[in-house]
Symmetry: C2
Subunit: 449 residues, 2 copies
């Protein structure tokens, strides 16, 4: 077999990169669990007709078929039997809620960390296979408004740890409320509010003048209407003062008031917990998605060009079986999108390429069992280690550790000596008592951004 080549859009990491990614995943999972979110995992496939409902996304879906079946041609399998790989974790979660509603306790908090697949054209920061980490709170018929405050704060807590412990940049979560925008547009006498939202969604890419042009040319808004919509989109504040700025635009509508109040609640609560990290940003639209209230996007400070690394919002009907409606609010974090650009460029790496903290040196194959006994003693106290693969000269065994970034080498039996190969210091030690420095137990992350 010739040397295989990577497949574009399907990123893979060397062990060092995977060790970094695992630190991120551990922080996410710990944070979600600390906040009472229960883990679930859904199958990778959904019926194709369920995946195709969302308009534009259809063409990005991967169809899955047994090779045997594919060779037989499409004669046998009907469309409703066809399966596709899920392209997000929201569609599968909505299906899971309906399927298992009788066995779940509502409000139901769940997190889900899984691969998703999209057949998009691969490009920087866009992958065909990537990991998402989602949290959602879903209610039966009703869901309290304070859930809209909770969801971004849980994600923020995870981002704060990722920033402080792993050295990634801090984030800023940008929040808006669909009701605020929709109420404002209605107050201006505009009926096709979704069409306006879709143009405003392009604000960051094309700028305010171009959006104004689209609103006039494509939607037939008056110059004054368009100007007002773009003015609204330009409002961005770190506190509740956005409300005054909106009211100064002179538009009135009950839904606008409702939206302002809901957004204020989120911003005020967030400012108490993490001042400056959550801002009201009235241009956040989240395009085609079916959000009905609060919407979120998250930028890495200094890396805004990467786009949003964590987005979500409120659905008044995350799922519905016709009789019962399940409102939900949630946020999805793009794990691959967040870490892959840094890992693949070598800007995030691990301090070693293995979990091992210690290599146990071997004198001779006849005494390998003594080295194994040392390893067992260390592992019994949760110290990751490995025994040298051969009884080479000690210099070579030290090199074995060094090449992997493993900081310690053990010589002798249970009563032996431990060498820190970084300092060269070598001291007597007992394998039933010796502990490495706490900072060495977990693999560290080196951020060189």
């Amino acid at each position: 077999m010739a040397r295989p080549k990577p497949i574009s859009g399907f990123p893979e990491f060397l062990p060092s990169g995977r060790l970094v990614e695992n630190r991120v995943l551990d922080i996410l999972r710990q944070t979600f669990e600390l906040h009472g979110y229960a883990p679930i995992e859904t199958r990778a496939v959904e019926p194709l007709d369920q995946l195709s409902r969302k308009g534009e996304i259809t063409k990005e879906v991967y169809v899955v078929r047994r090779l045997h079946e594919a060779e037989e041609g499409s004669g046998k399998g009907s469309a409703e039997d066809s399966l596709g790989l899920h392209f997000d974790l929201t569609v599968p979660f909505a299906r899971y809620v309906l399927e298992n509603a009788g066995h779940l306790q509502f409000p139901f908090r769940r997190y889900q960390i899984q691969k998703v697949w999209r057949g998009e054209r691969p490009q920087e920061g866009r992958y065909r296979e990537f990991t998402q980490a989602d949290i959602d709170i879903v209610g039966r018929e009703t869901l309290p408004d304070h859930c809209d405050v909770e969801a971004p704060l849980v994600m923020l807590a995870a981002f704060e740890r990722i920033h402080h412990e792993l050295g990634l940049p801090p984030v800023q979560i940008h929040v808006n409320n669909r009701k605020l925008a929709e109420g404002f547009y209605r107050g201006l006498g505009i009926s096709d509010t979704l069409a306006v939202l879709q143009r405003v969604d392009k604000y960051d890419k094309v700028g305010p003048e171009a959006v104004t042009g689209m609103l006039v040319d494509e939607l037939g808004l008056s110059g004054e209407q368009a100007k007002q919509c773009v003015s609204l989109a330009g409002i961005c504040t770190a506190d509740s003062s956005f409300a005054d700025q909106v009211r100064q635009l002179g538009v009135r509508h009950p839904m606008l008031d409702e939206g302002i109040e809901a957004l204020q609640a989120v911003i005020d609560a967030a400012n108490q917990v993490a001042p400056g990290r959550v801002v009201a940003d009235l241009k956040i639209a989240r395009g085609l998605d079916y959000y009905t209230g609060t919407v979120y996007e998250t930028m890495l400070v200094g890396y805004e060009k990467m786009g949003s690394v964590s987005s979500g919002g409120r659905y008044d009907a995350l799922a519905s079986d016709g009789k019962t409606t399940y409102p939900g609010v949630g946020i999805s974090l793009g794990v691959t999108r967040l870490v892959a650009p840094f890992i693949l460029k070598g800007k995030l790496s691990a301090t070693r390429v293995t979990p091992s903290v210690v290599v146990i040196a071997v004198d001779s194959e006849e005494t390998r069992h003594q080295a194994e006994a040392v390893a067992s003693a260390l592992r019994a106290r949760r110290i990751p280690c490995e025994v040298s693969p051969d009884a080479a000269k000690f210099g070579k065994q030290i090199k074995y550790a060094d090449r992997r970034g493993i900081p310690f080498v053990w010589f002798g039996g249970i009563t032996g000596q431990i060498k820190d190969i970084r300092s060269g210091e070598q001291v007597d030690a007992n394998a039933n008592q010796w502990e490495p420095p706490v900072a060495d137990i977990k693999v560290g992350v080196i951020a060189d951004l």
Copy 2:
């Protein structure tokens, strides 16, 4: 949307089941890392021509195609561009080793825990999507024999924790060596040794007489040859005494001696660490797989009908690029295969359906921020908790906790009271100091086998 139905062969768990599965996955990961295995993850897809090399497995592969592409028909994509979902983690790992050989340190220990997909007919214990946990040690050109001892002992260490901490049955690892069998067959003057192995592989299913019949009828062996092969397959010992039993059969061949010696080394080393858990079982063949030395299968004691839950062996050429050969030894544990039958029948469940240990009661929506402060204080000390979704009567809030199996309810602010709803005991507590019993912090597993 009507209530969706499960898809046969794609098991999913309720949160309780997923919490159990996560405990198993945590034990596996911790054990692998304690032994110095580095984590990697490979993409879900491989080029179809790479997946089709393994003879019989071809028909079980799932082909993956972009919906857009699929609708255009097969005119465009050529066979070598086609992608399939991986059906195990060995083929992707071999490809990963070749692709990244220049960046890896050999011998390379890695673990990999991922979903795999097989288009087999779904039946009890067989799934179309399932999770595997693999460990492998791979060398460049050479790999020491003691790795054949290490691999099953690492997996055994994980199984022992799963048994003791979660209450699953203990395991017995059955070990054989391909060289022993092949040397024995050659000593009998048989040349097509693989054909014999494939028949012996059916020993457990059809019994010794039927195997003897197949060897005579299908392969043209003499009655004496067939009898000897079946006698060899019947040898199973908990210690090295299998060697004497083999030698009493009177067959001589250098490869046989080599195989006996290698198997003795594994059994002797395993007996020092975990007496009785590893046995020499000379009927273990591992059918069509390309193993060249030690082979392993693992049975849950008392549940042998489930078949092997963890199998593997030694490959003299796990991977090769024509210039360099990479020998490897590894074992794969079928996580879904191990836990799904118990979870889906309710025989393994979690003590609660959420990570939360505490529900913080809410007096009124006006004082929700006080409850949030209590939650923050508990989370700062790694105690998972959640704030009550509403300010209902305390009885209802206690019921909220009870229905989820959450053991504690907090009343008041930072200086408040904690109620253990199992005992009914309620005492004064400070949220900056109170700790739940250690046994309550992690979600427990209830095994009712």
